[in-house]
């Protein structure tokens, strides 16, 4: 059984000119549990919206999203929030760490909305990622590569079944990018989580056995005047 399935998902936005701009039209997309798939796509192709729809942060205009046996698109917002906290780990290009919290607190706070805070697990994850000496550092006191590792720890802390990574190495130099990507994939494997990564960086994409062109999945229509 697939962990994730999208069928006939459409999402459009109103433009300032009063037209409807379709950004997503996904006839079908599937991802099996524990799979690691990289989607290649250019900027503005709708990759982030695609991930946000899967995470339940954006509701599609039509279509169905099934995640871990639940129809995300049929759930009310609070239930989608709960499902996201429990099932999904999200890694962003700009990490999106909370500046007022230490590395450890960032990870523990992420757990608070899911299964509950587990400082021991958060500490173990950060130590696993080589941040044992930086647990109480705030994000601005960490290097860019270290910040991304904190973000990885936060994404994996709730033992999610699916990790969504939106250009996770976009802000890293090639060395840090390679290392972060390796850690992300290893952690997903260790935790039994599937990984769906979107990127436009060929070097990142090249590291994945399964790569797909996002444009082949997404077939948005033309702009329609309202």
């Amino acid at each position: 059984m697939d962990l994730l399935e999208l069928r006939d998902v459409v999402k459009a936005y109103d433009t300032p000119e009063g037209a409807r701009h379709e950004v997503l039209r996904i006839p079908e997309f599937r991802l099996a549990a524990r799979d690691q798939v990289a989607l290649a796509g250019t900027s503005g192709s709708g990759k982030s919206t695609f991930l946000n729809v899967i995470a339940g942060m954006v509701r599609p205009d039509s279509g169905r999203v099934m995640l871990d046996g639940q129809e995300v698109t049929a759930l009310p917002e609070a239930a989608r929030d709960a499902l996201r906290a429990r099932t999904i780990g999200y890694v962003f290009q700009t990490f999106h760490l909370l500046g007022a919290y230490s590395a450890l607190e960032n990870v523990v706070l992420g757990m608070a909305f899911g299964p509950g805070p587990d400082p021991a697990l958060a500490r173990a994850l950060l130590e696993r990622l080589g941040l044992g000496e930086r647990l109480h550092y705030r994000p601005h006191q960490l290097s860019v590569g270290q910040q991304q590792r904190v973000a990885l720890a936060r994404a994996l802390a709730n033992r999610p079944k699916l990790v969504l990574a939106d250009e996770p190495t976009g802000n890293l130099d090639p060395g840090n990018a390679r290392e972060a990507l390796g850690l992300l994939r290893d952690l997903c494997t260790e935790h039994g989580a599937a990984l769906l990564l979107v990127s436009h960086d060929p070097a990142v994409l090249a590291q994945f056995e399964t790569r797909r062109d996002f444009d082949s999945i997404n077939q948005p229509g033309t702009e329609v005047r309202a």
Partner: protein
């Protein structure tokens, strides 16, 4: 799965700490509002009680024909000018009235360092009772003055302010206030310092009434012509005058008959009765001050609420990214709403608690000024319902003020904020 309150409070607390300056300014503003409201209500009530208790258990005052308000202000509160004098005979007559339980003459006209000097009889201190208990106590070596000697008993405020002690000597100055430089030749010695009565009597210097009659430069006009007393010679009663006669009646109903006799049938004297009603009337005349103060206090509450709203609202823009991140981690909208309401509630609670410090500060300052000016002692530790409903009201105001920024947090568009902050 709902988020534990502890987590929400930790998020709220972290934000308050992060914006420590703004948080403290807002808490201080809420504390000022809360403390001011409590203090205004407490001062208003205690002033009212002190005014009503200022009559020292007397039911009526007999004085020269004129305004009963002026008579009460002059004889009970030792304020304002004397409306004039009555012949000694009027005092004797009313003292002999079978309806009168107690009658004590007052004679005024001098001061010492702006504290009014009142001439009276020793029985005023030894016989007068309020609800069966003596009012005046002379602690330590103090005693009542000898009616035939130049001796004085002073109120507690006078003692505190002038540093006069038992055995100290002073010379009275002519006139009721400090506006004259005519210092009398007579030397008076302090023989007693009254324990505080929490009444205007505390700022009075009491001397024998005979001493007032015989003071250098005082003329008695009881017989219609000026009479100056001479040492060693008795003063005929027809020349003596009193400024007022303080009365306690055997039966309060007697006041009706006496009032009719003096105020309606007679033309020479005014009977202010009942004093409590006169005091209420005076207090009502100045009650607008309380109302203005209460209005100002409420305005400060409104300003504090606005300050709370603005301080939280102003952080909303910089915190939209934080809210979007929390939402991406699974935080519900109502969790964010709760966090902001907790923040506003914490500020309001801090303000309400700190408000008690402000309250005690204001009360201490007000008590010092009021005691110095009127002799009335405010009690800072006395409960007033405002001390309960003001902090509770501040919490409600805080919650209401937090609603606007809370709704802004509630409506955070996650995907837009995350994509904008990524750009």
């Amino acid at each position: 799965m709902s988020v534990p309150l502890g987590t929400m409070f930790r998020i709220a607390w972290r934000s308050l700490r992060q914006h420590a300056l703004s948080t403290w300014v807002t808490i201080s503003s809420a504390a000022l509002a809360s403390g001011l409201v409590m203090a205004v209500f407490a001062v208003a009530r205690q002033s009212s009680e002190a005014f009503e208790g200022g009559s020292l258990g007397f039911d009526a005052v007999l004085g020269a024909r004129g305004s009963s308000t002026q008579l009460v202000l002059n004889s009970v509160f030792h304020l304002n000018t004397s409306p004039g004098n009555l012949p000694w005979k009027a005092y004797q007559e009313i003292a002999a009235n079978p309806s009168v339980e107690e009658a004590y003459p007052y004679a005024v006209g001098d001061n010492y360092r702006s504290y009014r000097i009142v001439g009276t009889v020793p029985e005023f201190f030894t016989e007068h009772r309020m609800e069966g208990k003596p009012i005046f106590e002379l602690p330590g070596d103090g005693r009542v003055f000898d009616p035939n000697l130049r001796e004085a008993v002073i109120g507690s405020v006078v003692a505190h302010k002038t540093k006069l002690r038992i055995g100290s000597r002073f010379q009275p100055t002519h006139s009721l206030d400090a506006g004259s430089d005519h210092v009398h030749d007579e030397d008076y010695v302090v023989v007693g310092i009254l324990a505080p009565t929490n009444s205007p009597a505390d700022k009075v210097i009491w001397i024998p009434i005979e001493g007032m009659f015989r003071m250098d430069g005082h003329y008695l006009r009881g017989a219609g012509e000026n009479f100056e007393a001479h040492a060693g010679e008795a003063i005929p009663d027809e020349h003596k005058e009193v400024s007022a006669v303080m009365l306690r009646l055997k039966d309060p109903a007697a006041g009706f008959m006496m009032q009719a006799r003096y105020n309606k049938e007679g033309k020479e004297a005014t009977l202010a009765w009942p004093i409590a009603t006169e005091v209420q009337s005076i207090f009502q005349q100045i009650s607008w001050v309380s109302r203005v103060l209460i209005l100002v206090a409420y305005l400060v509450v409104v300003v504090a609420a606005g300050s709370l709203l603005a301080s939280l609202y102003n952080t909303m823009n910089e915190r939209r990214r934080e809210f979007a991140i929390l939402r991406s981690l699974g935080a519900r909208r109502r969790t964010l709403l709760g966090v902001i309401l907790l923040e506003s509630g914490t500020i309001a609670l801090g303000g309400a608690l700190l408000g008690f410090v402000v309250y005690f500060g204001i009360m201490a300052g007000a008590a010092a000024v009021i005691r110095s000016e009127t002799g009335v002692v405010l009690r800072t530790m006395v409960y007033h319902p405002a001390m309960l409903w003001t902090p509770l009201g501040m919490l409600v105001v805080g919650a209401i003020a937090g609603l606007v920024p809370a709704m802004k947090a509630y409506s955070t568009d996650v995907s837009r904020e995350l994509s904008q902050s990524a750009a």
